[in-house]
Chain length 451, copies 2
Amino acid sequence: MKIVALETHDIRFPTSAQLDGSDAMNPDPDYSAAYVVLRTEEGERGHGFAFTIGRGNDVQTTAIRALETYVVGRDCADLGAVYRDLVGDSQLRWLGPEKGVMHMAISAVMNALWDLRARLAGKPLWLLLAEMTPEEIVDLIDFRYITDALDRQGALEILRAAEPGKRERIAYLREHGFPAYATSPGWLGYDDDKLRRLCKEALDEGFTQIKLKVGADLDADVRRMRIAREVCGEGFPIAIDANQRWDVATAVGWVNALAEFDPWWVEEPTSPDDMLGHAAIAREIAPIPVATGEHVQNRIVFKQLLQAGAISYLQLDAARVGGVNENIAILLLAAKFGVPVCPHAGGVGLCELVQHLAMFDYVAVSGSMEGRVIEYIDHLHEHFVDPVVIENGSYVAPRTPGFSSALRAESLAEFAYPWGPVWNTEGYSRDRPPIASPKAGGSPSTAPGSS
Amino acid sequence: MKIVALETHDIRFPTSAQLDGSDAMNPDPDYSAAYVVLRTEEGERGHGFAFTIGRGNDVQTTAIRALETYVVGRDCADLGAVYRDLVGDSQLRWLGPEKGVMHMAISAVMNALWDLRARLAGKPLWLLLAEMTPEEIVDLIDFRYITDALDRQGALEILRAAEPGKRERIAYLREHGFPAYATSPGWLGYDDDKLRRLCKEALDEGFTQIKLKVGADLDADVRRMRIAREVCGEGFPIAIDANQRWDVATAVGWVNALAEFDPWWVEEPTSPDDMLGHAAIAREIAPIPVATGEHVQNRIVFKQLLQAGAISYLQLDAARVGGVNENIAILLLAAKFGVPVCPHAGGVGLCELVQHLAMFDYVAVSGSMEGRVIEYIDHLHEHFVDPVVIENGSYVAPRTPGFSSALRAESLAEFAYPWGPVWNTEGYSRDRPPIASPKAGGSPSTAPGSS
């Protein structure tokens, strides 16, 4: 697996021009991918990306480019070693460590290497991982800074305990897929009739859970939750998602005001950096569970969220932490603490990626589907060579070799920023300036597609 | 204060070629600055930078460049509003939020704006800040995500309580300066004779504290601490610094093995992201205090370190969190919890910056110098227009208007990367590749100058 070339693409979809679910907090997200293609001497390719929402995608692309000298010319057969070298480099580490732009760049490159590895093996990534031995899997992990919760031996024990029944779970996945939940009904900008109709449609399509955005207006949230509950019926899981909108006290008051509608979980009630804040909220709103993860920077923060009893659902993101390797550590931490993983998806290609991680978790780590669902949003899948397939409210287990991470060549050309055709069409200006004066206090994203 | 131009410079000092204190963990740091100059219509300039240690400085420079459209063409008179707009921008925020490369870029730009503001006011920054009213100061802060520990009213109370005596404290600073401590004696790579000699020199120069790097070899650390204690005498503050080297259990064992030498504090015993880990270590090594901060990403993490009782000394960094504004919030949080702030310095220009923040803290926030010292390393100051001055082991209070953040024009030309003369001299190759295969598990920095 000697890499001979790394190419990057700044790909942006002008979603801000055609949103049907935008809101006052996030007026103009342009869903984007800082996209990377790695190539071997034999011409095989691996594909990865960081998901962003527009401005700054050039910075993210530059960060990926900065990793060129770390992988090009190198035999990347040992993906544990490559990962530890990237996150451990003494100079790059200063830019994090293990967080933000540089860590997302490492994620993109590591995911591209995994795509390549799975293609070479002729298997979808979830199956490639699931068929590895416990020893091979723990060799992929960097246990630094998590040994107080999980060490190599503890990880081996979890993986060995999941060995029996692997074959049956693989067969189950191939037959039934992995359950999904639908975020599309609940965007803040929708009127009540549309909310009602989309809830109904989600039920008809077989989804076993939906999610509503909340946090802008409590009266509106009460009204919308009432509608969703009426349509879905008692006991149907309806999660709510505040997208980091609140401070601790506000979160507690707001969620308790919605308690009568029995929220399945409350997602991102406050800053993703505030483990103690999440824990305080969890105590004050119990028994309503707290979920978070899409903006959690690395395994060290997840470790603490688990240690503090702050979360009841762990929502890993495939492209924010250090790629497949770090997500395996996170899956094992979740298993150690008995917390189900319900991955974050949406955006550009996040559904494509996380399905592999959730399926690997089911087969080889947690061994369970109980309480586990993958987020699903029907958005931008048409740009992928191997898009997700949803049947009866479940993700169909991928059969194509790889990580489902390749964008179509036509999309790469059309949406290249700033020179692609779409950015040079009237109405989509590539010179669009940022918002002159965004709302004071920040504008957490609650855009459709990025949940 | 209308900004009409933003210029960036990738400045790297080839310190890896001339280290006298390098060590096995950090073989080749090239101290660098992603440097920014803002210019007004009238030709006034403000200067800021992010400090990095080499590779990735181009990524950091690109991130600063990405902020051009946010400040150029804008009247930046309201520095609270500019700061909240930068950290709150819904699209850029996705790259953090408030952490890593993008946050350091915001820091550089905000610090440049503050340099400009202080120059226009004809005052050194510490004095400009110290003479603001409590109301003006709290208007600079983003209280989002910290109100469970400190809100606007709480901040006002702290600032008002510090109003009496301001004039006397300003006079005291001008006469006596602010005490410094010396990191230079304790680099891991020094032999015992050099350690002994440098400890002696630090005492002779009037420093009231020194610091030793530890964490590579326990036997060597025991021997070195014994020497330092012999030279400095009983009771003289000797801090130790592990630069994130340990996991929790290792930290506890190692520090307790050094307890007989009475360490003044143990710095960065583990990951800067691990608040609960720091708290666990603090409990297990008590009464030896824990200090951290140079890699802490933002006020939200500092809030938790304080809430968890994890740190006894808070080591803010001038160029990692969101610049002056966020550091004011951090100073106030520290005051609220009664924890002294002892800023991190070294690197490129960090001494120049943090002296202003520590002096502002003394005059207008904590009102106290008790337990407070600023790190000092005698390195690279000659490249600054207004370098720090140390007399009798103390920082002399700056009198020149501004933030002391301007690099000399000659240095900008000489050390520009990759085209400056120094990078095209034999022996300093600009094409130097990264380490082919760094140590597995990462290489935390313990280089001279970056403490």
